[in-house]
């Protein structure tokens, strides 16, 4: 058999298969052929041998929450620029959010994204579709057609579904297609016109606050809905959980074995509301940056296995859009391109997770949430592999980003963990 790639002598971490050892990975015909000790002579006509000594060899990373802004806001990001950023960051699969212009709400919209992704030929690009038409929270969007076209879940991200009757209907209906309903939990009546966490800093800065209750009240409501729905095919996913109160709700919902998962972003692990003190709009994000106690609760939840995925909520914006008053600038942080290093800083360095734990939350677990057959190095699976130099230090420089946007508050940070190579379907799509 013709083999394309032999990755030798790396520390192979494949949490799904309980692998964490020094060995080799053989890739043939775009698939994982073998993981173990492989003699070069045993592999016929290997086209390329990669020496991964001192490197980590892991399943390709998966980010289930990004905004690539296409269609509609291509000046901020395109599927091509976002995909290039993704592979440079070690991501072999990403999931776009549907709050584009137009909104992703039918099969044509889904196919458009897939076509752009094929043209870009970088990372695997998936998309979620809208739960409701126009993200308006009133009528269900065509979930069935979208699911058939390949949508991996549904969300009105950017908005929470306000009406409990609509949410109940969405959860029930989605059960027919076995797809996840992902919620941006925010009760708009409590949130009001808030632009940062409601607390000491919003008070002294004179900015309208976003109360943690806005997130928690909707999450509590959704959990009550989940309890009432008899179907076994329901799956509810809480996006970008940000408060200690939400963590408590998820913890107890999981104890009751409700079908609920959640994700955490880097910024909710690394920044507090205090970062807004100088009205720097690069820290304006929704859900807002919270307090130290919330960060501690998120980290504890990660350590306890309550959190299911690490996702960036990569939200690119133009410089001119962010150069506005804090009140009027758009929400969002662009962090896809340095995400791995941020997780290392937030979770590995303080000893909250080991490497295997981190990789699990960036591969196997997120793949399960969206129901794709990825996130492992099992024999026969598509060869999505990321090679990481865990100790390489570098300085984050937004001007070197492949992403079109620069709204990244991590600019200038000294961090660890460089992506060396990103292999998508057996093809090297990125090399440092």
């Amino acid at each position: 058999m013709n083999s394309e790639l032999l990755i030798k002598n790396g520390r192979v971490i494949d949490p799904a298969n309980g692998v964490d050892k020094k060995c080799d990975v053989l890739v043939a015909q775009g698939k994982i052929e073998e993981v173990g000790k492989i003699e070069e002579s045993a592999a016929e006509s290997v086209k390329r041998v990669i020496d991964a000594t001192g490197k980590l060899v892991v399943p390709g990373l998966i980010d289930i929450h990004v905004h690539f802004r296409e269609p509609g806001d291509e000046e901020e990001e395109t599927i091509a620029s976002g995909s290039a950023a993704a592979v440079a960051a070690g991501y072999t699969s990403i999931v776009c959010m549907p709050n584009t212009n137009p909104v992703v709400e039918n099969e044509t919209d889904v196919e458009y994204i897939h076509r752009k992704a094929r043209q870009a030929r970088k990372t695997h690009v998936y998309t979620m579709g809208a739960i409701t038409k126009g993200l308006a929270g009133v009528e269900l969007a065509e979930m069935g057609f979208m699911a058939e076209a390949g949508a991996v879940g549904f969300t009105d991200d950017g908005n929470g579904v306000q009406d409990p009757a609509v949410m109940l209907r969405a959860l029930k209906y989605a059960g027919m297609f076995d797809v996840v309903i992902a919620q941006h939990c925010q009760d708009d009546r409590i949130a009001g016109n808030g632009v940062m966490n409601s607390g000491y800093y919003s008070t002294i800065l004179g900015l309208p606050g976003l109360d943690p209750l806005a997130e928690e009240a909707m999450l509590w409501r959704d959990i009550q809905l989940l309890k009432k729905i008899p179907s076994e095919r329901i799956h509810y996913h809480l996006q970008h959980v940000s408060t200690a109160g939400s963590i408590e709700l998820i913890r107890s919902a999981k104890k009751e074995s409700l079908p609920i998962t959640c994700e955490v972003t880097p910024h909710h692990l690394l920044f507090t509301e205090e970062c807004c003190a100088e009205y720097d709009t690069n820290y304006k994000v929704n859900p807002p940056l919270r307090e130290v106690k919330d960060i501690e609760a998120l980290k504890q939840a990660i350590a306890d296995g309550i959190v299911d995925a690490l996702a960036t909520d990569h939200a690119p914006h133009l410089k001119s859009e962010k150069e506005l008053e804090f009140l009027t600038a758009p929400f969002g942080i662009a962090s896809l391109e340095c995400a791995l290093s941020l997780y290392i800083k937030a979770l590995i360095e303080p000893g909250i997770l080991d490497w295997s734990g981190l990789i699990r939350l960036m591969t196997e677990k997120p793949a399960k949430i969206i129901g794709i057959d990825k996130g492992t190095l099992s024999k026969g699976k598509q060869a999505d592999v990321t090679i990481i130099n865990p100790d390489a230090e570098y300085k984050i420089d937004v001007n070197k980003f492949r992403s079109k946007s620069r709204n990244c508050p991590y600019n200038g940070w000294k961090v660890k963990g460089k992506v060396e190579k990103t292999i998508v379907g057996g093809e090297i799509r990125f090399e440092a």
Binding site: I204, G206, E325
Partner: protein
Amino acid sequence: MALIRKSKQFKWNRKHLLGLRDLSTEEITYILDTAKGFEEISTRSVKKAPPLRGKVVVNLFFEDSTRTRNSFALAANRLSADIIEFTKKDSSVSKGETLLDTAKNLEAMGIDIVVIRHSAGGAPKFLSRNINASVVNAGDGFCEHPTQGLLDVYTIRKKKQTLEGLKIAIVGDVAHSRVARSDMWAMTKLGAEVIFVAPPTLIPSKVSQLPVKVSYSLDEVIEKVDVINMLRIQFERLGGNPFPSIREYSHYFGLTVERMKRAKKDILVMHPGPINRGLEIESEVADGNNSVILEQVTNGLAVRMAVLFLVNQASAQKAVKK
């Protein structure tokens, strides 16, 4: 300048006045002392002094204002500056120009000081980072209104000699009040005890971390305080329905003749204006012997002259250093 003879070693070096939270007690006192020197100019027959001659001050107002805008204009006039009036209605902001572009365009015309009022908290700070002119905050959202805070403490100091040990009630929509915040910073830095009096729905988040006490009962507070500052109910900023009716609000939080009977004889009654007669304050009280509401306006002029003078001076010194 002879006006600032009390200065000793202290040197004012702030090019902008963005808020009172960042100011030291010494800096606040220095502005008040400087204002004292300027008060005299308004009593002259020729009400003008030359320190800002040849300088251009822009009144950049994105929110309605009569008192503050005119006060700044008059202050600049008395210091011999040229004034450009820029209000939202007759500017290109309505055509979608950003705050930054508006300010940069004005700056390109060669202005020295921007006096800005804006509905977004932090807008003056944002501007100060992006333009070379001095920026003076004339009210930003519900963050700060520093010259109001200064004229309030100036008025109190004039009447009571010192703020040290005074009890001061600030009554009304504290949550949405920039005046309450600037007052709080200035008054507490000068040694007064501040009590916010409002229904819980109009008390800001995490107030326990601020240097103030909180009361929901004006009746309990009225007997104890030396100064009472009645805030205007800002119908334009109130979200939702924080109290059931004006009638009920006035009943609990209005400064009435009846309530005044239980106050200290020498209590100072203040209000940043414009007043809603019969709502937060009864006419007899607003116009009564304890009221210093109009003196606040008079003092505002001297304070704003001092502020314009000081930021310009600091700006000139910085330019020389460069």
